[in-house]
Symmetry: C2
Subunit: 164 residues, 2 copies
């Protein structure tokens, strides 16, 4: 548990998790979930490692956080992720009743918050978190590099199988 | 493993799984995944039982199928689900590279295939399955009842926490 961190610090932690995912051969995306300035969950992408197409950083962190606090509703929790969540993860964030979503870089190719289906603006979205984008200069620059990485290798099997 | 079944039969199996989920206090939605006429995964909603907001029938079945065949890409697999998938599950179905999606009732309130964000028709959707809706008369009638059930109790904590 890491107490007393600020928003950019939590994003730094998510970036560190993303780096570790990249070192493991995954698309380098990381996520942490915070409750009362305490990190209760932390995960990087693990789709290849786990052979699980749903094992995006946000899904894994949400499952971890729900287990940690013993409820499927993370009403007073905030989620930090290095890249704009995809459609699957935006749906999960809404179902989990996440209070605030902080993300690094926008993802015009696969994002679903301010790009793509803009899920939180749709009438079929029944819980909308507060959204903060481009959190932290480091996050912004680092995450832009992730998007470029993802675009460059989008035609390879590794990248497309684990793309955000 | 159940071999040699037809599309309505697979939907009957999904409906049976949905009934079992309902008996367990969950929103009664069920899903099976089929590969070469063989059922490789079967799951009902378990959001309350598992205290996991991502534990929709489709997500659980996809994870189970990926584990069964040892890959995160279910390229030659077909998914049967009693209700139109939500945004989260439509995203997961696309990531999993499901070949064909068969669903029972439409879900104008929370669906994301022919309702809501219509994810498979969006440019940020990178794999689109073949989609067959209203599969099987029994499925249609039964699933309509599920939608009514869901609407009636949408203001209660149990239903909204586990809504599709």
């Amino acid at each position: 548990m890491i107490r007393g961190m600020t928003a950019p610090s939590f994003m730094d932690l998510a970036l560190k998790t993303a780096e570790n995912a990249g070192k493991a051969g995954e698309v380098p995306i990381g996520c942490v979930i915070v409750r009362g300035y305490e990190v209760i969950a932390s995960a990087g992408n693990r789709t290849l490692t786990d052979r699980d197409p749903t094992a995006h950083a946000e899904i894994l962190a949400i499952r971890q956080a729900a287990e940690a606090i013993g409820t499927e509703r993370l009403v007073d929790c905030d989620l930090y992720v290095t890249l704009e969540p995809c459609t699957m993860c935006a749906g999960a964030i809404s179902f989990a009743r996440i209070r605030r979503l902080y993300y690094g870089a926008a993802d015009p190719k696969g994002g679903a918050v301010d790009s793509g289906v803009r899920f939180f603006a749709q009438p079929t979205c029944h819980h909308v978190p507060e959204v903060y984008s481009s959190v932290g200069e480091t996050a912004r620059i680092f995450c832009k590099a992730l998007v470029i990485f993802s675009e460059i290798c989008s035609s390879t099997s590794v990248c497309t199988s684990a793309s955000p």
